[in-house]
């Protein structure tokens, strides 16, 4: 039962990673791509880690896996801000609609 729930979470996590990557390819500019990566991939990571934690050998190992999530979240949030901030400083204008394509 727990094995099944763990596998389900792993599949859901893989789905969000897939969606985030599709967003990275399909979204029009650097800002919108950052939205896709930061949000979808973090949810994917959370699901994958929760799935692995359910199948871990010990409580400590499970907690160690879950500890990765907030650390990766903090890093990802800071990196998205850094990239968006730099893009704006370089004068990259946000995509504004269908006028170009």
């Amino acid at each position: 039962m727990i094995e099944l729930a763990g596998n389900l979470l792993l599949l859901i996590g893989a789905f969000f990673y897939f969606a985030g990557t599709v967003g990275l390819v399909r979204f029009p500019d650097v800002y919108t791509r950052l939205h896709a990566l930061a949000k979808a991939d973090n949810l994917g990571l959370g699901c994958v880690l929760a799935g692995l934690a359910l199948q871990a050998d010990s409580l400590a190992a499970a907690l160690k896996l879950l500890l990765i999530w907030p650390l990766a979240l903090a890093a990802s949030a800071a990196v998205s801000y850094a990239i968006a901030n730099r893009a704006q400083a370089l004068g990259v204008r946000p995509w504004q609609g269908e006028e170009r394509s």
Partner: protein, 169 residues
Amino acid sequence: MEQTRGAGQDGGWFPYWTRRFVVFAVLWWVLAEGRFDAWWLGLVGVALATWGSMRLLPAGRHGVSLAPTLRFLAFFVWNSLRGGVQVAAMALRPRPDLAPALIEIDLSHLPPGTARVLMLNTLGLMPGTLGVRLEESRLRLHVLDARLPVVAEARELEAHIARLFGGRP
């Protein structure tokens, strides 16, 4: 010693540093995956971490109480879930149909420093918002779809963070 004067004030029956010592000890236990073969190394590490944390963040100035923290965490987990689902749906639908915009919001209700940085970083994981520039109390956001109620949601997050830092909501 300036820094040790406040210790003990906030800790009830125990000096304040014991709380952090316990937190770091649990962290070591987690990192070692529950094994105790190198407990002496862990003890040294935990002692150094406690000492460093008391030096860098002396007790007293940042007491965060439990109830607002739990409410903030619940709000954060729920909304990052919504944010992920929403952006995944946008990426996978036949036409992404985005309406991006840059907006500015005012953060002067939050104390400068940690509270504003937490707000900025959390917004990056909320539905549809991404921090672009934080200058004093002005925060510029990139939003994926300006038709969504992003400002109202940002204000709700701001109220949670204000409660977390003990200010008025």
